[in-house]
């Protein structure tokens, strides 16, 4: 089946799980990634049970944060 990942069309196996897509896309820290499918957030508790469908548009978004705390002056 074909899905869109981060704006790019990809051919993947039917019934691919979201967690399997993490592996294929080399997402090393999935616990710090927010996912949307077809512009809907996937709650973290549903990530492991989510199965992708033909045409799904998947976006991964890494947590973005940090700060100056700990920077030498």
């Amino acid at each position: 089946m074909q899905i869109i990942v981060a704006g790019n069309k990809k051919e993947v196996q039917d019934g691919l799980k979201l967690t399997e897509l993490f592996v294929q896309e080399e997402v090393e820290t999935p616990e710090y990634v927010t996912v949307s499918i077809n512009e809907e957030f996937v709650p973290s508790e549903r990530v492991k049970d989510t199965v992708l469908q033909e045409g799904d548009n998947v976006e991964f978004l890494y947590f973005m944060g940090g700060g100056s705390n700990g920077t030498d002056r």
Binding site: G7, E28, T29, Y32, V33, T34, S36, E39, F41, E59, L61, Y62, F63, M64, G65, G66, G67, S68, N69, G70, T71, D72, R73
Partner: protein
């Protein structure tokens, strides 16, 4: 090399100064060409931490930016945040929370008389400074 328009550089500085005393943050959209990363759009986001020493972005705002970037046929190139009182280099927290090695991580320091902007590649705890050209 990261290439940033002068007007976008000023936009980042303005956002950082308006956010004082707290850190400010945002995202960069653009494209790659001949090994360079060209910024076409700067997005100013809220620092949901509202802190002078930390920043976090709102995922909903981030996704809205991603949607806009995709609609323009661009890609997410990187993010920026300000250091109001410290130099333009990543803190331990910045390094620990840099999860995406495909991103340029820009830090704008406001500690001196003039702002200082640097870009970094951060991967698995290793930091490498990248060239930035403002045009």
């Amino acid at each position: 090399m990261l290439i940033l328009k002068e007007e976008d550089y000023k936009k980042i500085c303005g956002h950082a100064e308006a956010g004082l005393p707290n850190e400010a943050c945002g995202l960069l959209g653009g494209y790659e060409e001949e090994g360079n990363r060209i910024v076409t759009d700067v997005y100013l986001l809220r620092n949901v931490d509202e802190s002078r020493e930390h920043f976090s972005m709102d995922p909903a705002e981030q996704f809205a930016v991603i949607k806009d970037i995709r609609s323009k046929g661009r890609q997410l190139l990187g993010n920026f945040h300000s250091h109001p009182e410290t130099p333009s280099r990543p803190s331990g927290e910045d390094i620990r929370l840099a999860f995406d090695p495909k991103m340029n991580y820009l830090i704008l320091s406001l500690m001196g008389e003039a702002p200082v902007l640097n870009s970094f590649h951060i991967e698995k705890g290793e930091v490498e400074k990248e060239e930035v050209r403002i045009v």
